[in-house]
């Protein structure tokens, strides 16, 4: 019997998370509990029914309200059948498949099976990870992943624990391991006002990354309000206040900071 797993979305024509035109598979379940999480419905590992608040939601039909079960169990074949539908777009654009979430490394067997199936079809893959997974699991996927989109959030261990629910040593050691093996890594920093987006934290990220020889690309992700929106939509509790998205002008010194440390920087995905 083939592997199956739990995903909560599969989106085609994703153009902001990796090269070319991509299909992104969103795995359900995440070991972190970030205050600002922009996919709060992905936190728990199992499919769950979520009430859809009629005031917050703009959906019109009863059908949609009934359908608010988040996550479903799917087979590798089922996911692959949808992935290969867009092969011509990957070929044309140099794109491929991104496994995101949630945290794809949480369902390592399912992820391995999907990565192997993609490799069989000659599709390029990326994983979008928070980095909080066993080193041996990263070791398992390493040869099957063409690009790691690796999130770095907060360098201060205590603050990391406070705002994400876990400590950051494992994340750092995994990143260092991938770097030392010459992995193709883009570090992504979600810019949460006053939490990750402080000069002190960003400078600390620069200092941490600088000695990692193979990590030279950084993506700065301006804060987006999707999480707030989804918390309302699914009536999920939300910590922290409502933040404003940084303007391009506000981003510019941060971009400059990373560039001054020799990184090539993209903003927004």
């Amino acid at each position: 019997m083939s592997a199956s797993g739990i995903i909560f979305d599969l989106r085609k024509y994703c153009i902001h998370d990796g090269p070319g035109i991509r299909t992104t598979v969103f795995f359900k379940g995440c070991p972190l509990d970030c205050w600002w999480c922009h996919n709060p419905e992905s936190r728990h590992s199992l499919p769950e029914a979520m009430p859809v608040g009629s005031q917050a939601s703009n959906r019109a039909s009863d059908q949609d309200r009934r359908a608010a079960t988040i996550g479903c169990v799917v087979s590798v074949e089922h996911v692959m059948a949808q992935i290969v539908q867009d092969e011509i777009f990957y070929d044309q654009s140099g794109g491929g498949v991104t496994f995101s979430g949630g945290e794809p490394m949480m369902q390592i067997d399912f992820l391995m099976a999907l990565l192997a199936a993609c490799r069989n079809c000659g599709l390029r893959t990326a994983i979008d990870t928070c980095g909080y997974a066993l080193e041996e699991d990263f070791d398992r996927v390493y040869n099957l992943v063409d690009l790691f989109l690796f999130d770095l959030k907060i360098m201060d261990p205590a603050l990391h624990l406070e705002f994400t629910g876990v400590t950051n040593e494992l994340i750092h050691s995994n990143l260092a391991m991938l770097a030392s093996r010459g992995g193709n890594v883009t570090v992504r920093v979600p810019m949460i006002p006053d939490i990750t987006d402080t000069r002190e934290n960003l400078e600390a990220i620069c200092s941490f990354l600088e000695p990692l020889a193979n990590v030279r690309r950084v993506g700065l992700l301006p804060y987006n309000k999707l999480g707030e929106d989804k918390s309302l939509r699914y009536q999920l509790p939300r910590r922290g206040r409502r933040w404003e998205t940084q303007s391009p002008e506000e981003i510019s010194w941060r971009k400059g900071l990373f560039e001054s440390h020799g990184f090539s920087v993209t903003v927004g995905g």
């Binding site: 989106r11 085609k12 024509y13 994703c14 153009i15 902001h16 998370d17 070319g20 035109i21 917050a56 939601s57 703009n58 959906r59 019109a60 039909s61 009863d62 059908q63 949609d64 539908q85 867009d86 011509i88 777009f89 070929d91 044309q92 654009s93 794109g95 992700l221 301006p222 804060y223 987006n224 309000k225 999707l226 707030e228 929106d229 309302l232 939509r233 998205t245 927004g268 995905g269």
Partner: protein, 787 residues
């Protein structure tokens, strides 16, 4: 743009469309001379054109560089009473309607009442057509099964090639003379008819030369009275140009543009061709002039830009002649469908884009006017730079240029039997129609309402709107035991109505050939002169008659809904469903929700509905493609609606896809509004499952908000999206950049806008899925991004 162009552009934008009765008056005066009773019909038509061009007023606007207007002033729009005669009530409607109005003066009303209506009533081709077709044609037409283009406008749909840039009208007259000399009165029984036609062409050629000479005279007089030295010289130069062209082949860039413009006016004065005429591959035709003069230093890029902009304004000054009745409902627009083609490949198959291609794209971007329309042909041989530049203009959001697949167009033309050279020199015109430019008469004969045919099949031949039996008996749906029975019934009705349409078409073709030949247009389209045959009578090298299918998405989703819910899931009975439809879903909201939201839909790369789309396509293709017309050519299909999907929807009751009675049906090959929920790649995959190469054009619209296209990344990904669609032989793609207004409408009515994708952050999502606060923020951002 410089001050001159700014002023001309403002003048054009401010000009009020008005009915001009000058042409109708001159035409009627000519017919009253008694000449038409003494000479053949082709000669009558040629002399009528000559009379009009010799007497119509000459309009030269201040600061102009290219001269000639169809009416007495910009946007004065003539009528064509020999085709259809407006009643005084029609004039009242045109004068007062809220959208697309035309001013009608008391003078014009008087001329229409006292001169035009008394003479033309009962003699127009429209009158003849309704007299000549079968009663069942009238019944189908009235029911909204199909429309007929040629009852109000002349068979146009042709585009010019490069011949006027090589040859003057002097040369055309020589060719006519040679053809006359070659006539074999002893061996060919058609020789006398050919002689009349060729003599008519010669008269029409003289008419245009005389018209140009009148402009030369007027320009000289203006020059004499001009105090500003610069303008005086310019007017003198323009007078010289009008003396040279169109008699002789143009020698300069400026002369080439002026020459084309005279030819354009000749064609649209002779008849109100539908679509309007157009220069076609403009960057190819003008390139030799541009390159030579830039190299010689006699033309600067800036001057070329100014001349092109002045040329652009001339198109915008000519609104489409207003129609009457149903045709006015189906196509309410000032656009006369001149579609400038750029890019593509050369006759020998090389990348045809050049410096001038990019200069013309600059002009399109800067002018931002309704007419002319523009498109870029993208071949696999064209560089990405060309597509990227087109996308940069598209994202500014005024709907131009549209994108066409050269490689598909060439395959389509070659499949229809054109030579590879003629195919490569061709392109698309009107909305999306494929043609061999300068060599083909490719007539759109009318839209065909696929959804209405299904409705009639579901009522065993009866039109539920009127209760009249207008189709054939195809079986009581209650007795259908499976989908094949249903589809068989649909196909039976389809054959019935296509036969009616085709019989009507051949009757109408003959009426045009007999009563309204077009000797002027015939000079311009190969091989009318060589064959001594009129454009309207099969003189062109290729003669194609198109019937344009409308409602592909709606009929596919409707058939799919029945197959899925009735025959596969057994969750609805067909008779129950039909009862629900006849009540327009009143009291059956949950059935409608199932049909809308829990039933497979075309546009999602799902083979369940997409296979049915293929069946609909194949049945339509089989029943039309390859049937002979009366001009030595064939009937072909294409899939485009212009705005007819609105009219067609208005005559169709509620449909099994959840659409309510009277709402528009889907347009082109686009999915039903809001039915595509898997993003743009899935839409393109579904659309590409139809075999575009066996059509003469398909139309696919995609919507994007300006933000998705704002950065380079978004633009590059879109570029690849287009390339991938064209690799799958997609014919045409148009991106409509969504406005904040549309987003507000989507907030109010999410079901109609479920396909709208917006950029949230580094991430895109369906707009209707977002909460109100986030929606509002995106509306605000969209407003900021729009130009």
């Amino acid at each position: 743009m410089n001050d001159r162009i700014r002023q001309l552009r403002e003048q054009s934008l401010a000009a009020v469309p008005a009915i001009s009765l000058e042409r109708a008056r001159l035409l009627t005066e000519f017919y009253a001379t008694g000449i038409p009773e003494r000479v053949s019909i082709p000669l009558t038509r040629a002399q009528a054109v000559k009379h009009i061009l010799e007497h119509k007023s000459i309009c030269i606007n201040a600061g102009e560089l290219i001269v000639g207007e169809r009416g007495e002033m910009p946007k004065a729009t003539p009528t064509y009473p020999e085709i259809c005669t407006h009643t005084l009530r029609d004039f009242d409607v045109l004068d007062s309607r809220e959208k697309i109005p035309f001013k009608v003066s008391d003078d014009a009303r008087g001329i229409q009442r006292d001169l035009v209506i008394p003479f033309w009533s009962g003699r127009s081709i429209r009158d003849r057509i309704f007299e000549a077709v079968d009663p069942e044609w009238i019944v189908s037409y009235d029911a909204g099964i199909f429309t007929e283009f040629q009852e109000q406008r002349a068979p146009g749909h042709t585009v010019l090639d490069d011949k006027i840039y090589r040859l003057g009208f002097r040369d055309f007259k020589d060719a006519i003379k040679r053809s006359l000399g070659d006539l074999d009165f002893y061996g060919n029984p058609d020789a006398v008819g050919k002689r009349e036609e060729l003599k008519a062409m010669a008269i029409a050629a003289d008419a245009l030369v005389a018209y140009a000479a009148r402009h030369a005279d007027a320009l000289e007089r203006l020059a004499e009275n001009e105090s500003s030295g610069g303008r005086k010289t310019e007017l003198q130069q323009m007078a010289q140009i009008c003396q040279r062209v169109p008699t002789q082949a143009p020698q300069t860039f400026w002369e080439a543009l002026q020459y084309y413009w005279f030819v354009h006016l000749g064609v649209i004065t002779e008849l109100n061709t539908w679509d309007s005429f157009n220069p076609g591959r403009l960057d190819q035709h003008l390139w030799p002039f541009y390159r030579r003069e830039i190299e010689a230093g006699t033309l600067t890029k800036e001057r070329a830009r100014e001349l092109l902009q002045a040329f652009w304004i001339k198109f915008n000054n000519q609104p489409a002649p207003p129609k009457v009745g149903v045709t006015a409902e189906e196509s309410a627009t000032y656009t006369d469908f001149c579609l400038i083609n750029l890019g593509g490949v050369t006759e020998t198959g090389e990348d045809a884009s050049n410096d001038l291609t990019y200069l013309i794209l600059d002009v399109i971007e800067e002018m931002r006017i309704l007419q002319p329309s523009s498109m870029v042909q993208i071949s696999k041989k064209n560089p990405d730079r060309l597509l990227r530049r087109a996308l940069q203009i598209i994202k500014t959001g005024f709907g131009q240029p549209s994108l066409f697949n050269s490689d598909a167009i060439i395959q389509e033309l070659v499949r229809q039997g054109k030579s590879i050279a003629d195919a490569r020199n061709g392109g698309a015109s009107g909305c999306v129609e494929t043609g061999a430019f300068g060599k083909e008469s490719y007539i759109l004969t009318g839209y065909f309402n696929l959804v209405k045919v299904l409705e009639i099949a579901l009522h065993n031949g009866v039109d539920p709107r009127t209760g009249k039996s207008i189709g054939v008996e195809s079986g009581d749906p209650a007795g259908f035991s499976g989908f094949d029975d249903l589809f068989g019934a649909y196909r039976k009705q389809l054959k019935h109505f296509i036969d009616i349409k085709i019989k009507g078409n051949v009757i109408i073709e003959r009426l045009w050939a007999q009563y309204l030949p077009a000797p002027f247009l015939s000079i311009l389209i190969d091989d009318c002169v060589r064959r001594g045959k009129d454009y309207n009578d099969g003189g062109a090298r290729y003669n194609t008659s198109y019937i344009q299918g409308v409602g592909m998405g709606s009929i596919t989703d409707s058939l799919t809904a029945i197959k899925y819910n009735v025959f596969d899931k057994h969750s609805l009975s067909l008779s129950g469903l039909l009862a629900t439809l006849s009540n327009n879903f009143d009291g059956d909201g949950s059935v409608r929700q199932t049909l809308l939201h829990a039933t497979p839909k075309y546009g999602n790369d799902d083979n369940y509905p997409d296979d049915i789309a293929r069946m609909v396509f194949e049945s339509y293709f089989d029943l039309i493609d390859g049937r002979p017309n009366t001009k030595g050519g064939h009937f072909r299909i294409n899939l485009l609606p212009t705005t007819c999907h609105v009219y067609f929807g208005s005559v169709v009751g509620a449909t099994p896809d959840g659409r309510k009675a009277g709402e528009p049906v889907s347009e082109g090959i686009s999915p039903v509004q809001g039915a595509d929920r898997k993003g743009p790649t899935a839409v393109l995959k579904s659309a590409a499952k139809l075999d575009h190469v066996r059509t003469g054009g398909t139309l696919l619209n995609q919507k994007f908000t300006p933000e998705i296209l704002a950065d380079e990344n978004g633009l590059e990904k879109l570029l690849h999206l287009v390339r991938a669609y064209f690799r799958m032989d997609g014919h045409h793609l148009q991106f409509n950049v969504v406005s904040a207004e549309t987003l507000r409408a989507a907030q109010k009515d999410p079901d109609q806008h479920r396909d709208l994708i917006v950029r949230v952050a580094g991430y895109s999502d369906y707009f209707v899925d977002l909460g109100v606060a986030l929606q509002n923020e995106i509306i605000k951002r969209t407003e900021q991004c729009s130009i």
